[in-house]
Symmetry: C2
Subunit: 517 residues, 2 copies
Amino acid sequence: MTSLAAEPQRRGRRRRRPDSPDTSAPAGPNLRRLTNPFPAMELLSADQVEAIHETSLTILEELGIRVLHDEGRRLLAAAGCLVDESDFQVRFDKGLVMETIAKAPSVVELVPRNPARAVSMGGNGVAFATVGGPPNVSDLEGGRRAGTLAAFEDFMRLGQSFDVVHLMSPAVEPIDLAPGLRHLAMSRAMMVLTDKVPFIYSRGTQAVADSFEILRLAHGLDRGGFAAQPHCFTVVNANSPRQLDWPMTQGIIDFAQAGQLMVLTPFTLAGAMAPVSVAGALAQQNAEALAGLALAQIVRSGAPVMYGGFTSNVDMKSGAPAFGTPEYVQAAFASGQLARRYGLPWRSSNVNASNAPDAQSAYESQMAIWGALLGKANLLLHGAGWLEGGLTASYEKFIIDVEMLQMMAHVFEPMACDEGALALEAVREVGPGGHYFGAAHTLARYQTAFYPPILSDWRNFETWSETGSEDTARRAHRIYKETLRNFQPPPLEDERRAAIDDFVSRRTAEGGADLES
Amino acid sequence: MTSLAAEPQRRGRRRRRPDSPDTSAPAGPNLRRLTNPFPAMELLSADQVEAIHETSLTILEELGIRVLHDEGRRLLAAAGCLVDESDFQVRFDKGLVMETIAKAPSVVELVPRNPARAVSMGGNGVAFATVGGPPNVSDLEGGRRAGTLAAFEDFMRLGQSFDVVHLMSPAVEPIDLAPGLRHLAMSRAMMVLTDKVPFIYSRGTQAVADSFEILRLAHGLDRGGFAAQPHCFTVVNANSPRQLDWPMTQGIIDFAQAGQLMVLTPFTLAGAMAPVSVAGALAQQNAEALAGLALAQIVRSGAPVMYGGFTSNVDMKSGAPAFGTPEYVQAAFASGQLARRYGLPWRSSNVNASNAPDAQSAYESQMAIWGALLGKANLLLHGAGWLEGGLTASYEKFIIDVEMLQMMAHVFEPMACDEGALALEAVREVGPGGHYFGAAHTLARYQTAFYPPILSDWRNFETWSETGSEDTARRAHRIYKETLRNFQPPPLEDERRAAIDDFVSRRTAEGGADLES
């Protein structure tokens, strides 16, 4: 059932030595299922949350959302929305929005083909996903180049190799495949190379149905069994401002009907696709999110959904998107407050705008991670590998992110404060000016006392220099290659794998999916 | 009065355009005086705080602290401690510790020669200091080399140039000067090149008195006027475990007598100089801190002091110190709880163990900064420039840190949520699928809407590549050089400067200070 991906993973999940005489030593977190103990950061007062909420409902009621999807508009009209067919604008009664949203579950359990990899989206549960969506990949050796299926598969292997990565996003677009065939190859790779919760693109009903079928075959379930609980997720981006296009609206419908998780994320960059003020961008984000989430509940009451917050700002000198900024952090705190206002699980991201896996990429990512985790996000998308504002999946940044996520997982751990941890006996044993290296207390605990890094280099300058002065990116390069070299796919029964391959071959031969349907 | 250090500073303090039609646009924070709005992170339960507190008092009462200073032991004995002159151990009655500590002020206002640069240590006040103490400096061009007075002066110029840096620590040891002369040159440089709160080393009474005199001359105050309030600070490190050596104890006495701020910081690296468990290291930290702080209050009731938390862990494979680790973050959260337990202002640090100004240096620093600021530290030492676990002051890391600190200062800002910020009119103006670049709301606010970075590069990959693919460290290199080139020292009256120079010349001619007295 478990991955055999070896060293990095094993170092992440520290085990107590069986012969350890002191059983109170912490064994390290279960990286597979994380609970965020932080109190939620309440940046906004209750009145301010209400002001944003009310503004967003006014946007929905007075201005509306343009829905470029006939069936979507028909469903919304049938539910009581005012639809103007001359401009496709849909206006939502405030009461209707709130009643409809209330039907969404507050916790969604996602169960992939390996049930030991299930993650809980809601409450204090938090899970991390790989980067998703970039058209390019990069590493220090090959530089930046267009994505391929081979690169996509590499990132699936990397994602599988670390327990702190819980969900598999489509790390890079396989540009070398015809658009109508990509979903087949991506879903197959996710099922064959990983046993974690997979992402499926909303690129039309046919492609979504193909991917569901590949997942169903991997699970070994019949159609009813597969539909009985959420196994995968998609992201639907509103085309901000105030617009849902055809494939996005179709995705809302497809996922609600299938009972699979849909994350509605408006793309509200303050100053570009949203007002230049963070509160204004959040009001628009909230309006767009509630509209899409309401449609999902109209399609199927109780459909598993998630509130997506992605508000950031642009560089007002150039219009370039920025991530991990102070405004991004504040928007993450506030998005958490809004999601909790509606009792919805919510998604944030680990993002940065750097062009290299350098200091900027790390400090912007850290800002985004702390913003998300203090904001009590349940899902951190783009958790590992995102670079260049999402235009590149970076192999080195993937390893840097894994290190940062593992560190956060260890910060989450309760601090032992029992008699053994308080260590009065050890202080008694070691006199003034002495050291604890050989103390009995140390010997009993040192192997599991601290987080063991996979990337951070704590050697002194001289030793580090003598061995080549490798900076973090170069070490990350070595580690990603070593991880790929050591990769072993998770077990998958031969007949399931054959069924997947047969299906993918057949559908590929048929020309794949028509992405317009 | 203000620094003329120009560009980086001006960009940090954004101003509202006088002709701006919308006065509700935020003008950016006052970087000179920061208030931390975060709720304190309560990692430990109240019972756990009490368990650490009680353990530390038991350490003080049963085991005691070794004090290698005759006068220090005499003062402690006179106050009621049990002193064993055979091994210099001093045992503290629990009640005595608590009564004595209670005399310390909970807020300390530090007023440098430019009163507009005063900082408040206590409550929600928070201030950032330059790196202090490394024997080496490094930059990308010259590599790593021993510290010099010229390098020390460079870092003073850098510290003066950014408003987000509030206190001047001794950024690097001027190895090119005789030990007994260094304090003269360092204090002079701090007074001539900066107008911010200076640090003074506790290296014996004579050296401390010399530095106080240089500060007094820079302030233009008589002795009584200078002694009337705290103008500077020192750090006294306990020689963990459980020991106060001669110069450190003398520093406690000298600073308490002079009414200047003393920060008592035990050097408790879990697994080396402290127990391998974080709770145990904290109990020892607390015992050592309380002992030194009690001595200060015994010397002078109400002496300005600060609780220092520096607990981190070592790499148990090599014994190398590590910083910005998960354990470091937890210790920072808990140290804040302990300091608040005693109503004391407290100090944390921006630290990392990287050998280069790379991704590791940034993510470990970010962890440390978030640990400190969520822990509600009032003073962030080593705020800018620390590298290699404190063995090197890095010019490039200084700029990276300034960027990170400025970002945090902007996260501290309240989010505007008034009608203008909620931007309903702007949403009305921009239709579905449009953009906000030309909206009236955007034009009125864009100049002050977002934090303008000094280091982060948000240009797209193509533009960035065409202009040399400079990573963060290389950009930081350019920025530090440009900052030094543009540096203008803050105003200092000619007669004060002459008095300082006369004093330093005379004391230098006399051979400087005897550091053993």
